[in-house]
Amino acid sequence: MNNMSISLSYTYKGVCIYAEYNRGCISTTTYDLIHIGRSLATKLNVTLSVIIIGSNINKTITQDYINIGVDNLYICDNTLLYEFQDNIYSDILLRMIQIICPEILIFSATSRSIPLASIIAAKLYTGMTSNCISLDIDIKTRNLQQFTEDMKTILTPYHRPQIVTLRAKIFNKIRVKCKANRIGKIVKLPIDVNNNIFNKIKAINFTKYKVDNIFKDLSTAEVIVSVGRGVRTYKIFQLIKEFVMIINGKLGASKGIVDLGWVPYSCQIGETGISVNPRLYIACGISGHKQHTIGINSSSTIVAINIDPNCYMMQIANFALQGDLGEIITEFIKQLKKHN
């Protein structure tokens, strides 16, 4: 094992990020990943590379990335790669990784990137940890400490690269230090158009979620915003829906709002509705009667927004935001939009 780890540290160096690019758009999580990757690379005293695969890759983002701390950009740009397709992208990505030989490879924990990362881990037979919530480095061993939601610390001691998928921040507001006209290297790679994977699999249609999707699949949702009678007006209710869309959540409600007909019964949370177990539950103007809270007991983190600091929901919340719901939601939308 010792020989193995010594040779590993010679061959594999640097931190590498896969930036998800689909249908002409870069994933909004990329800044987050670069920010984290930069700090790991600085601690290890190595370079930070970013890989982008797609079609018509925007020139301004590449210089942007260099300005915020990326040293090398590896790009594969071809019209055949317009739709993200993990089975197709994986061959290109693997070639790039063989050139870069990074010790750490970070993906964002999204429904597109997780399967792609899994293919790479399987091809290289190396360790991969999904859905990490944070990362740190042990400088001496150069091992990446991978912290998961279920409270584990995972290492990949003898295999490289160490692959992780990292969960996006729910309230994404990171500002990265920026240096104009920083120098970086851009490497462009061609694709192999004769690869027969192009005949095997193809994305033929895509339908983006509509607003009413926020009412679906609450029982498996990770982030739920729930409305109660404290919403008072339909206008504020509409603002809450906008907020839900921004943070990629689902909408739940107390009985009072379901009775008004603003939200379907399938979204009623509590004794006579459904039970939910999200990572984050945001109760907007809900007082916290037992018939409601019985449905949210297994939420990991509860945020309450309420004008009354003494109501039960504010007592049980991990974060209690005291104030007028309409004002606070308006402010959330303003601050989160500023970044995206």
Binding site: A122, Y125, L155, Y209
Partner: protein, 244 residues
């Protein structure tokens, strides 16, 4: 004959993993639609006790069941090692197949990697998070999958591996009669030696990832915010982002 392979996981004290019920149902429905003597073959890798989960699968329509178990060599395998064991067994014991179906993730560890990793090791394409098989013939299929921002329709050649989410077909409830029959069904058991597997790549020591510690959750946070809306929101976001 068309072989439909389903990979399922047994979860201690619970039984069959939630999403694997949907994988099984999708496979059994394919068999029933086709009427061309298709066969549903289930695999699980895990401790001896996983046998009960295979019996559950048989009671819900599976035809054959394989238990891959080995206290010495399989125990402690991480997801990549587990995928390697399953892929090796499928290659050896099934040979030709039309489709492989897995649940999108497990409830206990939830890594979401096993499906795509098995497909990669078997050198076939895969589609993750499928909610519906729209059409299928001898050469290819069309499926709809769920992604973070919408639904995507994918066409793939066969054989293919799918990972499924809780989609359009609700898992069936087994009848008393089929439960009784499943109790007597033959479960085929294989260990590392039977599969001729490279044991340096699996188990507690061969697995690439190692769990080094469980950290305890910081004492449940209790933070209060008041003042102007602008102050409340910006200080909340800062503290929330730092809390995990």
């Amino acid at each position: 004959m068309n072989k439909i392979v389903i990979c399922i996981k047994h979860i201690h004290n619970i039984g069959i993993n939630y999403f694997d019920l949907y994988a099984l149902e999708e496979g059994v429905q394919l068999k029933e639609q086709n009427q061309d003597n298709s066969k549903v073959i289930v695999f699980t890798m895990g401790p001896r006790g996983s046998e009960s989960t295979l019996r559950t699968a048989i009671s819900k329509g599976a035809d054959e069941a394989y238990l891959l178990t080995d206290d010495k060599f399989f125990k402690g395998s991480d997801t990549i090692a587990t995928s390697y064991i399953l892929a090796t067994a499928i290659k050896l014991l099934v040979g030709q197949y039309k489709i492989i179906i897995c649940g999108k993730k497990t409830y206990d560890s939830g890594t979401e990697q096993v499906g795509p990793a098995i497909a990669t090791m078997l050198n076939i394409p895969h589609v993750s998070y499928v909610r519906e098989i729209k059409s299928i013939n001898q050469r290819r299929l069309t499926v709809e999958r769920v992604v973070d921002d919408g639904y995507e329709t994918i066409r793939s050649s066969l054989p293919v591996l799918l990972t499924v989410t809780n989609g359009v077909h609700k898992p069936r409830i087994a009848s008393i009669k089929s439960k009784l029959l499943a109790r007597k069904a033959n479960i085929k058991i294989f260990n590392a030696y039977d599969l001729d597997i490279n044991t340096s790549k699996i188990g507690l020591y061969g697995s690439p990832t190692q769990v080094v510690s469980l950290y305890t959750k910081k004492k449940k946070l209790k933070k209060k915010f008041s003042g102007s809306a602008r102050y409340i929101v910006s200080s909340f976001i800062k503290q929330f982002n730092n809390s995990i």
